[in-house]
Symmetry: C2
């Protein structure tokens, strides 16, 4: 690891050169580097926390004077209970993950003595842009080293001193005789206001990973031709299908999806209801819808309803509960509230729900509540989202919950990586062809024939 | 299939809507559509060839008056021996390929009654921009239908009448009662000069596939934020490693790689030689290098040599052969000649060769000729190219040669698809989660635990 105040183009070029060395390291060499990084941070706890205290004091000052959102201050604090230990353990956890590099995913005998292999390899140079949480620095550096990528790291300025202290320690750990990771492979970019300059370096930077607010991701996506792994919005919907009557299931899933962590990208923002569910006020469908609404209201949710859904709730709820049932405006169905607000809309069919989600959602995670397997399967095929769920909370969209061991981010891209992205998303593949003097022109009609024999992996 | 002279934004939106239907079709439905397309083209051979004859006559006229490259004219000709039959057979071949959609690539039991599945699915909407070869229209339409994608097709204007005739026929075949493919799923864009307008529609178009010249690809890559599958350049190198002495192998591979089809992207453009190979004029290494050079010269190749390689050849070749050994200029090592020219450079080490290729190559396909397995493996790990070969011709970089059954293109991207891209490259995946009422908040410390049990695929 190194600190760099070099010009962005030089830093990126150095990272690219280092990436070619990274690509040749064995899993042991990369894992040993992770161990060195862990040890170095552990041995320098005091000095890093001292630097962190300085950042914290400045931030508290800024917050007191209204220059900084107070909620940001606690995010900077590496000394908070368990945070330091979690950060260190995170490096060891990444080290213990299966090696994402060198996996053979295709092996074909083109001919005798001519074998083709598709093998996973690092992508090259990552540009990771993150906000001021200093522990992200350690996490990203660990993910990059584990996956054999070089990385340029640009963190939020409120953690400058902490990150400098951490990077200095990590740099020393990687500059030792025993480390195979070249220092330029992981660089903390310390120059300010260089993000725009970095985002044009599409020759040397292969992938941008923004970790932070929607605004950050959106502005980065709009400002670069380098592929960006991430998502700007999380407008997740759940559709209550015709014939659905399970009040308890609906309440459980919707309350979890909406209130578990309203600021999360996988939280529920829109509830769609098949019109037949609430067509008859005395039906089990209406009872299920009303029960779910009551549970949501009891959890503090404001329901932003269209006319048909509001009519049902106005009729069936007592006055106190009705206070948080308000009229929706059109924009509500295109809004990521990130708060205890939920847009509710009644639709005439499953097809209409699918069309609504494809048009108004953010292709992140959407669910259907239904007793019909056929409708569930149709919904999951037709909804164009990274996650399509049947009778489950959208909040399961998460790399740890999926069992990936780590999460690089959640992607709404349509190529490469989609949904929660584990280490695999930081790899690509190359084709290795091992021959013994073959010419392509020797094959063809009336000449040698390819065997194209699939070999075991 | 439909013809569209709609505004690009409307065409793209219609394609996007159609893509959501395409995503729900079964393999049988897509294969049946391919059969209908095949039958329709076969039944309308006369009218399509008549339209083609009109295009051809115009093109011959243009060529005669110097407005069109004469080599283009023959590419337009669908009546050329075997071309029509090959085009039709190509549709059936695509139909017979394994279904790229619906493959389950991960299945995990998160908990009882909560199963996660990662399943391949279409990307959505492709924009395929191709030159005037009319058979490409049928090929692309077949690939899109097979992979469940919608596609906007924009072909070169010299084939306008042929493509209109083909698209009309294909549209009729897909508009029949029995077809499940919505007409807007495959649209031939007939308005002229709309490419730039299409390239900004990143909300509705998910992937651009340019098929054509380097200039076309380069200009498209520079002009859009939509991911582009392709490669602008093919500067392929081969390195003769220290200790290499096999004259016959070198001559066979290098002549094939350089002269098999000089205009192809996988043709050899740069020959790198370890300095020790030619350090001793009487050595077996020098003999191998000179033998390869003689074979290349005999095949009509001009060798653009640096001083050390030229000195060896000047010494060892007779006067006639020497005429086509010329001094290289610096730009030669960054040039895709696409002709019978080959840049030759002597380098001091394997590391220098790797560094040269990573800096001057195009990350397409590069080879090493060596007797050392260790050096071959190091080269294949460190060279940052889609194809890295040991003792084989770079000309093997091709989807058909790799055994993919078809080739969508060759990609030098670092994400999603790299190297020759088969149908797989037109798919992504989504996560389906089938639950029974689970809330994510029910899991965690002191609560329910995830099982994360890997299930068979």
């Amino acid at each position: 690891m190194s600190l760099t105040d070099a010009a962005p183009a030089e830093a990126a070029r150095a990272a690219k050169n280092a990436s070619h060395i990274m690509a040749t390291l064995s899993a042991d060499q990369r894992n040993d580097a992770l161990l060195s990084m862990h040890k170095a941070l552990a041995a320098n706890r005091e000095s890093i926390l001292a630097a962190n205290a300085e950042d914290l004091a400045l931030a508290q000052d800024d917050a007191a004077q209204g220059r900084l959102n107070p909620s940001l201050v606690s995010r900077l604090d590496l000394g908070r209970k368990g945070k330091w230990e979690d950060m260190l353990q995170g490096i060891l956890d990444v080290r213990d993950l299966p090696d994402p590099v060198g996996r053979v995913t295709l092996r074909t005998r083109l001919d005798d003595g001519l074998e083709l292999e598709r093998v996973t390899c690092p992508i090259g140079v990552l540009l990771v842009i993150f906000e001021a949480r200093p522990e992200v620095l350690a996490n990203i550096a660990a993910l990059a080293v584990k996956s054999g990528n070089a990385a340029l790291l640009k963190g939020g300025k409120e953690s400058t001193k902490t990150m400098l202290a951490m990077a200095t320690v990590l740099a020393q750990s990687l500059e030792g005789d025993s480390s195979s990771v070249p220092p330029a492979a992981i660089q903390l970019v310390t120059r300010r206001d260089v993000i725009q300059e970095l985002l044009v370096l599409d020759r040397d930077i292969d992938l941008v990973v923004p970790r932070g607010s929607n605004e950050l991701v959106r502005s980065i996506k709009a400002g670069t031709r380098i592929p960006v792994l991430g998502h700007a919005d999380g407008i997740c919907s759940t559709f209550i299908d015709a014939g659905f009557t399970d009040a308890s299931l609906a309440a459980t899933i919707l309350v979890d999806a909406k209130t578990g962590y309203p600021a999360a990208c996988n939280s529920l923002e829109t509830l769609l209801v098949h019109e037949s569910v609430i067509a008859d006020a005395a039906s089990a469908g209406t009872a299920a819808f009303v029960a779910a609404a009551k549970a949501l209201l009891a959890a503090g949710v404001t329901l932003r309803c269209d006319a048909p859904s509001k009519a049902v709730l106005d009729q069936q709820l007592d006055e106190g509960a009705r206070a948080k049932v308000v009229d929706a405006v059109n924009d509500d169905y295109d809004t990521e509230f990130l708060s205890l607000d939920l847009a509710v809309k009644v639709l005439p069919s499953l097809d209409a729900a699918i069309a609504h989600i494809n048009a108004h959602g953010s292709h992140h995670t959407d669910a259907i509540l239904t007793h019909s397997e056929a409708n569930a399967e149709k919904f999951m095929a037709a909804v164009d989202s990274a996650g399509v769920y049947w009778n489950a909370s959208t909040r399961f969209a998460d790399g740890m919950r999926y069992g990936f061991g780590t999460e690089v981010g959640i992607s709404t891209n349509k190529i490469h990586s989609r949904g929660p992205v584990g280490l695999e998303g930081l790899t690509i593949y190359k084709y290795k062809l091992r021959g013994s003097g073959q010419a392509a022109g020797a094959y063809g009609e009336g000449k040698k024939q390819y065997k194209h024999e699939s070999l075991s992996l």
